[in-house]
Symmetry: C2
Subunit: 325 residues, 2 copies
């Protein structure tokens, strides 16, 4: 029996007679045959591997995106390689290199801060199609899926304003990502539209983690403007800040209003339950994976940035302003 026939039989080609196919399959099972994907990939130049790189998978925001990517890739029997780049362009670059060497079929990336468009273009030029999630990069023509951050943070800010807050701080995050700039601009725009003053001192940038929020509590409570509310960069910062506020003897949600961003699964069970902005992680992951798979199958896809419309979820961490002494 020739290798060609065996190869065809194992892949259920109609070119092989039913009886022959069954005999071959039975024998393969019997001898414990293991299909060698490296060899197949060398021949076909399809590997069944997709790379995924994000800042840090320990951040539930990315974990939630990854989960929906995984679901979608599983469906198409693609495996994924994961890389946390920790915002190191060098680490991200070496990951892309690895993907190229392995003949990966594509890459989904939430690009590291400072990613030059050339890094993504290089992947594309070498046959590694890319799709971006959560952050965009100027100067490269690939599909991008992210939330509408300016609009979303506006929802949170307006919610606080409508409750009567006028001194609203913004806590956590950085202006070095597209997300960061958009969120800050959204906050500024909402404040200005309401005729409220935007004070640079009321912006406290910092790590986008619980720890970051927790540690910002001191500086927040010490602000001489005595803000009555905090718009936080994300849920992690908000939960950390609330913990820090509680440690200081104040009651978050009553003494100080706090909003989050992302609507992580744990936002609903925080104490108090967190008012936050749903950021469509599942949607972002699902659509990014789908578009990448479409590209792999030769479809030409829309490379415009796709903005997912965020939604405000009001819970217990926000209320009417209360003065502190």
């Amino acid at each position: 029996m020739s290798t060609a026939t065996v190869s065809l039989a194992l892949r259920d080609s109609p070119l092989v007679a039913d009886a022959t196919r069954e005999r071959i399959k039975e024998h393969a099972r019997a001898i414990g045959y293991i299909y060698n994907r490296r060899a197949a990939s060398l021949r076909t130049s399809r590997s069944g591997i997709v790379g995924v790189t994000v800042h840090d998978i320990m951040n539930p925001f990315y974990a939630e995106i990854l989960r929906s990517i995984e679901l979608e890739l599983d469906r198409s029997r693609q495996t994924f390689l994961l890389c946390n780049h920790y915002d190191q362009v060098e680490k991200q670059r070496s990951f892309i290199d690895t993907l190229l060497q392995l003949g990966a079929d594509g890459v989904i990336m939430s690009p590291a801060i400072g990613t030059p468009p050339e890094d993504i273009q290089m992947a594309e030029d070498n046959g590694l199609p890319a799709v971006l999630v959560a952050r965009s990069v100027e100067g490269v023509d690939v599909p991008v899926f992210r939330g509408d951050d300016a609009y979303g943070i506006g929802l949170a800010t307006n919610h606080l304003i409508s409750l009567g807050h006028t001194r609203i701080a913004m806590i956590g995050g950085t202006d070095q990502t597209s997300t960061g700039r958009d969120r800050y601009q959204g906050y500024v725009a909402a404040m200005k539209k309401a005729g409220l003053e935007v004070l640079p001192s009321m912006r406290l940038p910092g790590p986008r983690t619980k720890q970051g929020g927790f540690e910002a509590a001191g500086a927040f409570l010490a602000l001489k403007e005595k803000p009555t509310a905090a718009v936080c960069w994300n849920d992690l910062v908000a939960i950390g800040l609330m913990n820090g506020i509680a440690r200081a003897g104040l009651v978050p949600g009553t003494d100080v209003s706090v909003t989050g961003y992302d609507d992580l699964e744990e936002a609903a069970i925080a104490t108090p339950a967190l008012t936050t902005v749903w950021n469509g992680q599942r949607e972002v992951g699902r659509r990014a994976a789908r578009v990448l798979l479409d590209r792999l199958n030769g479809a030409t896809v829309d490379t415009h940035q796709q903005l997912i419309q965020p939604e405000l979820h009001v819970r217990q961490s926000t209320g009417r302003p209360r003065e502190r002494n």
Copy 2:
């Protein structure tokens, strides 16, 4: 110039003259040469890929283990493929299959509940060495790294007993894993040793998540035995339970004592800061990766179970018992 010379030059073989090597490397850079690892792997049967499979990477316990594995693998220029098995034996099996097909060098697994030893043996027999973390499987002879769960939960239980608690419930988790059985036994042993009664009603098994702990709060507070303390399966359950207790108007750490397990990064910033048991995630990940790399390099390694010694970290979530009405 022959391909052999090029191949040797690119891998810095001393068989190639310096000048030749430099000329070749320069040219490779110039034409944007991409090393084809599939082809190399086909020839050498080393792929530079290691599989990692855990229950769910969204659980920070596994994320922390993964992080230290990643650190160790990076150092040896190995890439890792990740799989969440969600305790589905079938999903885990298909992952092992994929690894075999890709010619992966090894696999680090926290085995799914109900994993038959044959599944691991099959990997081993096909040249895919395995190392287990966090959970063990009877009947297969591979290295295992995990915390000493019985001892660790004993630390937490004894701590509560020494504060004067006598009615101590155990919240969350399952008895279907080695970890689960060991933890429950450790709790039972500590209670008995102190002459305290172990009531089946005081064991509330459940999901090992914040959500699980949060939802267990109602049942816990309604127990007719009126427990004054809860030994939780892990930090996630403990934090969820504390949130649930706070929602019910009680103050965790004052009205009810709560212990966690794992000492996740966020245990220290929970409100109140969580008394918990350090479970050596970093140590587990680091040592598992090291041993796997040693096996890849042909070393024969100790296949005895390696128990990491846990440590009690006392914080604010535990105190003297207080009666509720």
